[in-house]
């Protein structure tokens, strides 16, 4: 399974599983950079004049850089790495090809770096999650299409005829994100132009509320049909593999797969329930959002039933513990999402810090934990050595668990306090400014725990990859 002795002449980009390693390590580096930016932003909310007068470090330019880096840096490269490890194994063949995948990841990392610099310099399309300017969008779209080629090229040469659930999800995800990315970034309109009627159309945008609808269709599906489905595909591989049991139900896998694309895709407009859109669009979005309980519950039940009789393993199997914690957070955040898409809840919590807590629970609590689990499972298998330190990983787990839980509750409390002020007592937004300040301090402290966890993860992986033989193994690797 592991490549023991490669011929010495092989280039690193041709070595087996080098693309997977490349992706996973990139992900852990982006995570450290991204959380550092997040930590700076968090401190800027409590100390607003921290970097006053430096345009590249102003909160509102760091925010898109942070969000896009977590999405396209941390989670994307980790997922690509994990897919490049899973797909060849599930197909019982080699990746097509290792060199192509490595080059793709290299270009991808350059694109994320370039996009981040562009955003910090103030070059942005100005719409959430599609901020990267057109000269980054186009390369990313090309890379996404190349990624389809890699995944389906490998599937086409498979020697294992059965298509495992993970392959459905990964195969679907690479197609969906390529479609959604083009729509969300209005790729066919890269430049800011003046239309015949004098109306100015901005780079990567449509006009009026139409633009908002398209933006949020993409804005939610980049999580729903990219991060969620890509991550669930990884969970479907890791959990049965680690507990050595088959997936509980094939039927539930089927329901989960087809229901998620049918019901997740139209949810985007629940971000616009408070905007003057026609009600039928809002109703469609709410039906999709509430209907999401079908795929979410079938996926979660399937995973947790696979775990039956093996729950004790989470105590000493670090990657399993990360993945299962992530799966629990995913279930929690999905239920929360369905509830907050209801009109009566949404009118209360919309625009408040509640939403920020929700977003972090999904991407850090859910898929961030799953990513860490994937790194800790896959990287030792690629390099053929156990994880450098189980204790360090254990420390990281508890730091990040306390960090994200405290972070989430601090922001949820802040959001409820804001919402009560705005809606219940009819205060202007400015009157609620002092209300949220204590929670912002809490957010900084809990955020620091996550940030430290990110560094521990990077250091642990670095030592795992670098140390050759002389490691002292205290616990046996799983």
């Amino acid at each position: 399974m592991t490549p023991e002795q490669e011929p010495p002449k092989t280039l690193w980009i041709d070595r087996q599983d080098s693309a997977a390693l490349h992706g996973l390590i990139s992900g852990s580096i982006w995570f450290v950079i991204g959380t550092t930016i997040g930590l700076i932003m968090s401190h800027e909310l409590t100390l607003p004049d921290l970097f006053a007068g430096i345009p590249q470090l102003v909160f509102s330019r760091l925010r898109p850089a942070h969000v896009n880096m977590m999405l396209f840096g941390f989670l994307s490269t980790t997922f690509f790495g994990a897919w490049y490890f899973l797909v060849p194994r599930l197909c019982a063949t080699n990746l097509r090809t290792e060199r192509f995948a490595n080059l793709l990841l290299l270009c991808w990392n350059m694109a994320v770096l370039g996009g981040t610099i562009a955003l910090l310099m103030g070059d942005t399309q100005g719409k959430e999650y599609s901020e990267y300017p057109w000269y980054i969008d186009w390369p990313i779209e090309v890379l996404l299409i190349c990624n389809i080629g890699i995944i389906y090229g490998t599937i086409a040469r498979r020697t294992q005829p059965k298509m495992y659930v993970s392959l459905w999800y990964i195969g679907g995800t690479v197609l969906w994100i390529a479609m959604i990315y083009a729509i969300g970034n209005v790729l066919w309109h890269p430049f800011t132009t003046t239309l015949p009627d004098g109306q100015v159309q901005y780079s990567g945008s449509l006009i009026g509320l139409d633009d908002a609808m398209w933006n949020w269709f993409y804005g939610h599906n980049v999580f729903g049909l990219y991060i969620t489905t890509g991550g669930i595909g990884i969970v479907y591989y890791l959990v049965p593999k680690m507990v050595k049991q088959p997936v509980y139900s094939h039927l539930m896998s089927l329901i989960g797969f087809w229901a998620i694309v049918l019901l997740y895709a139209p949810t985007g407009q629940h971000h616009l329930l408070q905007a003057p859109l026609p009600n039928w669009i809002k109703v469609y979005a709410i039906i999709g959002s509430v209907g999401l309980v079908v795929p979410v519950f079938s996926q979660s039940t399937n995973i947790f039933m696979t775990m039956r009789g093996c729950w004790g393993q989470v105590t000493n199997n670090i990657p399993l513990r990360f993945v299962i914690t992530g799966a629990f957070f995913y279930l929690a955040v999905s239920i929360q999402g369905s509830i907050q898409s209801l009109m009566v809840v949404n009118r209360f919590v919309h625009f408040s810090q509640w939403t920020v807590g929700h977003a972090h629970l999904a991407l850090l609590g859910g898929f961030g934990f799953i990513s860490t689990g994937a790194m800790y499972y896959i990287i030792p298998r690629i390099v053929g050595r156990p994880l450098w330190s189980q204790n360090l990983a254990d420390t990281q787990y508890w730091l990040m668990l306390f960090g994200i839980t405290g972070f989430f509750w601090a922001l949820t409390a802040a959001g409820l306090a804001q919402a009560s002020a705005w809606v219940s007592t009819g205060e202007q937004v400015f009157r609620a400014v002092d209300v949220v300040k204590p929670y912002f301090y809490l957010r900084s402290w809990f955020g620091t725990m996550i940030w430290v966890g990110g560094w521990l993860q990077l250091y642990n992986l670095y030592q795992t990859v670098r140390r050759r033989k002389e490691i002292l193994v205290i616990e046996s690797a799983t």
Binding site: D49, A52, S60, G171, W176, P276, T355, V433
Partner: protein, 344 residues
């Protein structure tokens, strides 16, 4: 169901495509709101300002989506679909770390915005908005032009009103504090000047007033009420110096003369509690004094007036003797007519 590569390769995008047609395609062709009566196309300068607004990520903390239930600038003017007709990209926003800006135009003067972009805490001591002091010159002018055009025709009308009144206020400011206050008084409706103070300046009221003052007034009027707050260099006319009014002993409630008391030199018309209340409530258009009617409750406004009067203008404290009705009983009205004005 047997899942083969072809089923996924064609089935998965097909389902998504169906949803795209229903969820994006249909509204794209069905929902085409015409520009609303209030919507105005942007000028070149406003578009430049809008671009700076986009580049600096203002949308991440300031929504542009006034809801029927919102309290704040533009409450009662809920967003209509046609209001967004000229927006590209949309700036609806998803978060309110700061106020909704859909109707912001004309609620603050250009000077206020200038000071606020330099450092928001100059005019808003509680704010945690970052400083945008790196936006200077033509860019700053364009950004302010954009902010002042928000709110469509009505917002731009308000902004024009601010600009028109500014000249008059500067003229009176230059004539000295006496004429300045007198002209302000004459611009306030008479009933406010003769309004009895329903919250007498008891020690409790003055204490509460200090809290309000430090949170809302200090940035411009200064800790000592002398109009030398952080924002002063950016504002024309400058913030009111309350201590000038103390120096002349302008308040007849004070039996003893003020520090520089000299009728021959410093006769100033009085700034009484009703006038302060009116100015705080509605603001003084043309100056940087915004309306606080949506942010401060009635009692807080009387309280802050009492604090300003007691601390900076030499008013007497009225001890609270413990009668229930004392809080409702008014202190004697200080009529602005009772004091001679130098020019008359």
């Amino acid at each position: 169901m047997k899942m083969t590569p072809l089923v996924i390769l064609f089935g998965a995008p097909l389902v998504l495509l169906g949803v795209i047609v229903a969820n994006l395609g249909m509204p794209h062709y069905v929902f085409r709101p015409a520009p609303s009566a209030n919507a105005v196309p942007y000028t070149a300068l406003q578009l430049r300002g809008r671009q700076i607004y986009v580049q600096n990520g203002c949308v991440y903390c300031h929504s542009q989506d006034t809801r029927p239930m919102d309290w704040g600038v533009g409450s009662g003017e809920a967003a209509e679909p046609g209001d967004y007709a000229y927006d590209s990209p949309h700036l609806v926003g998803s978060e309110r770390n700061g106020p909704d800006l859909m109707r912001e135009g004309g609620y603050h003067s250009d000077d206020w915005h200038r000071a606020h972009f330099e450092d928001p805490r100059y005019v808003r001591p509680q704010s945690f908005m970052p400083s945008f002091r790196y936006i200077q010159g033509a860019d700053l002018t364009a950004l302010i032009a954009y902010v002042q055009c928000l709110g469509g025709r009505r917002g731009q009308k308000r902004a024009q009103e601010q600009a028109q009144r500014k000249g008059v206020l500067i003229v009176y400011y230059k004539k000295g504090p006496a004429l300045n206050v007198s002209s302000l008084n004459s611009s306030f409706p008479q009933q406010w000047l003769t309004m009895p103070n329903p919250v007498p300046p008891t020690p409790g009221s003055i204490d509460r007033g200090r809290t309000v003052y430090s949170a809302y007034c200090e940035g411009c009027h200064g800790v000592y009420g002398d109009g030398r707050g952080d924002a002063k260099p950016y504002l024309n006319p400058p913030p009111m110096d309350f201590t000038l009014l103390q120096a002349t002993g302008a308040n007849p409630q004070v039996q003893r003369p003020g520090y520089h008391y000299d009728y021959a030199k410093n006769k100033v018309s009085v700034l009484n509690n009703g006038a302060i209340y009116y100015a705080v409530l509605y603001g003084i258009p043309g100056s940087a004094m915004p309306a606080f009617k949506g942010q401060l409750e009635s009692e807080k406004i009387w309280d802050v007036g009492n604090y300003i009067g007691r601390s900076f203008m030499g008013w007497k404290t009225q001890p609270y003797s413990g009668h229930y009705d004392e809080l409702a009983r008014s202190a004697p009205v200080i009529s602005p007519k009772t004091v001679l004005v130098a020019s008359r």
